[in-house]
């Protein structure tokens, strides 16, 4: 068993990383690992409520976010500085998250066995 953290830093939709990163979480949920995710830098926008990708023809993933917990990814952290810098508040997010300062994020990262950036 390993402690695995998904470190999301890319914005949604402009590139595929947020979506394919989420697909990894959904598969990893079937295995005996301890999963966590952190959203920082532009990835904080991946959690935003009200995303509508229909005009892009891209399958959105905001509706997938609430199931992360069911897939074993119970801890979802958001980097406070990234969030504030982009004018976002916790109410803006589609799912409950734990907001952490830089030192807190650094400490949690240090506790992991594997860090997968997306």
């Amino acid at each position: 068993m390993a402690k695995i953290m998904f470190v999301n830093r890319n914005a949604p939709h402009g590139t595929i990383y947020a979506w394919e990163g989420l697909e990894v979480v959904l598969i990893f949920g079937a295995y005996e690992n301890e999963l966590a995710a952190v959203y920082m830098d532009d990835a904080v926008f991946s959690l935003k409520k009200g995303q509508d990708t229909s005009a892009l023809g891209i399958k959105g993933f905001v509706q997938t976010l609430p199931v992360l917990e069911d897939y074993g990814c119970e801890k979802i952290y958001v980097d406070k500085e990234s969030m504030e810098k982009r004018g976002l508040k916790t109410d803006d997010f589609a799912i409950p998250v734990e907001v952490m300062d830089s030192a807190g994020i650094g400490k949690i990262m240090e506790e992991q066995d594997v860090l997968l950036p997306f």
Binding site: M40, D41, E110, P117
Partner: protein, 98 residues
């Protein structure tokens, strides 16, 4: 933890974010375009110098040479090869800041 950064600090904030969350004494390795930030006299020198206060900073020699930066790095940045890169990974869990 070993923090690996591959982006030029002039284009993306990866190095800045890395420095912000990295714990004291955790090594930072600059690879690919991130080595551009290690060039002496550039605008990123302040950022690299601030990193050097709390972290050992390494840069990959192949990427430095490829970009014509050999011998022109911010003092304190240690130049290493791929074998040293492997040693750093052996000593620390890696996190890549893309």
């Amino acid at each position: 933890m070993l923090h690996i950064v591959n982006k030029s600090p002039y284009m993306k904030s990866s190095l800045e974010s890395c420095i912000r969350v990295a714990q004291k004494d955790a090594p930072i390795l600059l690879i690919e375009d991130a080595v551009l930030g290690a060039a002496a006299g550039g605008g990123a020198e302040t950022l690299v110098k601030s990193a050097l206060k709390d972290h050992p900073v390494y840069a990959l020699s192949a990427d430095i040479s490829a970009r014509g930066l050999a011998g022109n790095l911010t003092p304190g940045v240690k130049v290493i090869d791929y074998a040293d890169f492997v040693d750093l990974v052996e000593q620390h869990k890696p996190m890549t800041w893309l």
